[in-house]
């Protein structure tokens, strides 16, 4: 397994943050009652682990001050399985909201953190998730300033659901909007598509590959900041193609900006194993969920430079220009297939289901 810096940090954190000794192994309904058991759970190490001046007040909410215009986003995480190659639900809960803020052109500052735990979750699992939350939030430079914990009966949840909301300060150079997108703009994708979704699917389906597929979940904020520092208003649009995948984001963009989009299948970066897994399971990688990548629509004049900057970073080393914005076929995305044929790339209808043959 290839070890990333982030994984090294996680391992180190686990060593530095050993689970405290507790007189309970599993979380029960009582831990969400708000009474003594809730306090026991939170005081057992949750507060200690995530501590900062805001959380330390133990208040119902946080009072915050920001200098610049604010971006605000929320996301809920309900993934199965909660632990997967390359991360766990805790990593996703932080990176997901941090990345949503980054896509607004904002520098993430504060997060709220809410757990809905199904009784029976082991404290060991919960601790591992908390350590991931600590590691990823520290790496992203965001503070968890308020939170909530509820416990539901067995069968009423799926181990653990997490919601995070976040606020960030909009980068002074950012002007990210579908309406900034103009004809001839270039469409850049920051890395290999479908990696996260197929890592999850391979665990669910019990598929084994020569090298394990790992989620690419990561904090996209630093690279987005760098791009905004360097290219400012020439970055017209940013979006992380999570649920619904690349095809869905491009369709949403085409409809928002009223322009057409041309992309080329052969230019889309895709890991060979991920491609193989998609073929086996009958899924189109363009509709598979992503975590660690984003789509940038940029002024054509700076596209090559943006690509160079991206490729110098670890998160953007596989970045590629995949297409162009056009005045032709407004509101539609046209894909040139690997053999040169053209077709409509449409939004997904319902859930992507494996085909019979």
């Amino acid at each position: 397994m290839q070890e990333t810096t982030e994984q090294n940090i996680t391992v180190k954190m686990q060593l530095q943050c050993p689970m405290p000794k507790l007189d309970f192994d599993i979380i029960t309904l009582g831990h969400g009652s708000g009474g003594q058991l809730t306090h026991q759970l939170l005081e057992s190490g949750v507060f200690d682990l995530l501590k900062n001046e805001h959380l330390n007040t133990h208040h119902d909410g946080a009072m915050l001050q920001l200098k610049n215009p604010v971006a605000f986003s929320t996301d809920s995480f309900v993934i199965t399985p909660i632990f997967f190659p390359g991360g766990n639900i805790g990593d996703l809960a932080v990176n997901g909201t941090v990345n949503d803020l980054a896509m607004c052109g904002a520098i993430p500052r504060y997060l709220s953190l809410s757990f809905i735990i199904e009784e029976g979750l082991t404290m060991k699992e919960f601790w591992e998730i908390l350590v991931a939350i600590k590691t990823t939030s520290e790496a992203a430079g965001v503070l968890i300033v308020t939170g909530d914990t509820k416990v539901v009966e067995k069968g009423k949840g799926d181990k653990i659901f997490i919601n995070t909301s976040g606020i960030g300060e909009v980068h002074p150079n950012a002007k990210i909007s579908g309406s900034s997108v103009a004809p001839t703009d270039k469409i850049i994708i920051s890395g290999n598509i479908a990696t996260h979704g197929m890592a999850i699917m391979s665990v669910r389906e019990g598929l084994e590959f020569e090298t394990a597929l790992e989620s690419d979940t990561c904090n996209l904020s630093p690279i987005v900041n760098t791009l905004l520092d360097e290219f400012g208003e020439d970055i017209h649009f940013l979006r992380d193609p999570t649920r619904g995948g690349v095809a869905t984001v491009l369709n949403e963009l085409a409809k928002d900006c009223g322009l057409g989009i041309n992309i080329s299948q052969n230019l889309i970066p895709l890991n060979e194993q991920v491609e193989g897994a998609c073929e086996m399971l009958g899924l189109d990688p363009l509709y598979v969920a992503n975590e660690g990548i984003f789509i940038a629509v940029v002024n054509a004049a700076v596209a090559d430079n943006v690509l160079n900057t991206l490729r110098k970073s670890a998160t953007g080393k596989n970045a590629a220009i995949i297409g162009t914005v056009t005045t032709e076929h407004p509101k539609q995305v046209i894909l040139t297939s690997s053999i040169g044929g053209k077709r409509m790339l449409n939004m997904l209808t319902g859930e992507q289901l494996p085909r019979i043959c």
Binding site: I339, N346, G350, L353, I356, C357
Partner: protein
């Protein structure tokens, strides 16, 4: 990716297209029988790349689409029983019966699971002795061996809680029925490569002989399809009618004998209702009486309701190749994958759904701007 990229090679595709253009002198109508082939033709933009003289019409080859409504209703009825775990292949779940789909039944609390193999359903039955595990066994001759094997395995394990709803259709009788239709426009067939992988090519010689129509057993990748079309066009231009095998890297003349044996052990051939088409004689597989204990339609008493297809739907004409999805006034307006009126729109392999997925934006934009 090895063994796939070479069949998606743009230079080779260009050479085949050039050769087809050089060969064709008159208009020809060719039907690809399988929904997987339709999917590839549209997904890779091949239909627009072919010379104008060649019209590809799309056959009834989506087993999910042609599964009769009453069988889906039965599956939904059984799935509602809290003792039942209903399993099937992914795209079967979205297909609406007369009132709802299995996905909707799942949302209402039924235990409905997507599996990649019926053998997983046998394992499920073994691990859940207090549950009845039912596999909704859909497909052409391609999925029949694995479905048969699941019954053989359950029988060997002595499982009393495993059964299947068999919804198997056979391709050659449908091709025969299409050609027997006096209105038929089909001048050549691309036969379904995966079906022949199991069954071999033997069943096609009598059809070629009887109707004097070229049949080319063809694969599913763009280069396969272009090569298959070229082989069909060459025959048509030379006024020949032969059985040819484009998919020889996979299809053996006699097919897979072990797989055929598994099918023969469990199933027998019967008349079959095809959704959107009608009953086609000797075109389906039913569980043999000997294995009736594994036949969910016999094991459980399910009340049968009469079901009717939408009268404005032109599914029959589309599946016979007489009409194209875009010819239908319901297409993309009152009929969509989220609300299908007929068989070819119900599964992603159906020709209407394939067109909707890859073309609908044109129509939607036109509608929005009108």
């Amino acid at each position: 990716m090895k063994h796939l990229t070479e069949y998606r090679d743009p230079i080779l595709a260009g050479q085949y297209l050039e050769e087809i253009k050089k060969t064709v002198t008159r208009p020809w109508t060719i039907m690809e029988i399988c929904g997987g082939q339709t999917h590839s033709l549209v997904k890779y933009g091949l239909l627009q790349m072919l010379p104008k003289q060649i019209t590809m019409v799309h056959g009834p080859g989506c087993p999910v689409c042609v599964t009769p409504t009453h069988l889906i209703d039965r599956a939904i009825y059984l799935a509602a029983n809290p003792k039942v775990i209903m399993c099937s292949f992914g795209d079967m779940l979205r297909v609406p019966g007369s009132e709802k789909s299995l996905l909707q039944a799942k949302a209402e609390g039924a235990d409905v699971r997507i599996l990649y193999s019926p053998l997983d359903a046998v394992t499920l039955a073994k691990n859940n002795p207090d549950k009845e595990v039912i596999f909704f066994a859909v497909g052409f001759e391609t999925t029949a061996p694995a479905n048969a094997l699941s019954v053989i395995q359950a029988h060997q394990l002595g499982l009393k809680n495993y059964s299947i709803i068999a919804s198997h259709v056979l391709v050659p009788p449908a091709m025969d029925a299409l050609l027997a239709d006096t209105e038929t426009v089909v001048q050549a067939f691309l036969a379904a490569g995966h079906v022949c992988t199991i069954m071999g090519n033997g069943e096609y010689y009598p059809i070629v002989e009887k109707y004097k129509v070229p049949i080319v057993v063809t694969g599913f990748e763009p280069i396969d399809l272009l090569q298959g079309i070229l082989m069909a066009v060459r025959q048509l231009e030379n006024n020949e009618a032969k059985m040819e095998n484009q998919y020889a890297r996979v299809v053996r003349e006699n097919g897979n004998l072990n797989a055929q044996q598994a099918i023969l052990e469990i199933f027998e051939i019967s008349d079959r209702m095809w959704r959107g088409m009608d009953v086609i004689p000797q075109s389906g597989l039913e569980v043999k009486e000997k294995y009736a204990a594994f036949d969910a339609t016999k094991k459980f008493n399910v009340p049968l309701k009469e079901t009717k297809e939408n009268e404005t739907c032109i599914a029959g004409a589309i599946m016979k190749g007489l009409k194209k999805p875009l010819d239908c006034p319901n297409f993309g307006t009152t009929c969509k994958p989220s609300h299908p009126l007929g068989a070819p729109m119900v599964s992603s392999e159906g020709s209407c759904a394939t067109y909707y997925h890859f073309y609908s934006a044109i129509k939607e934009t036109e509608t929005a701007e009108a």
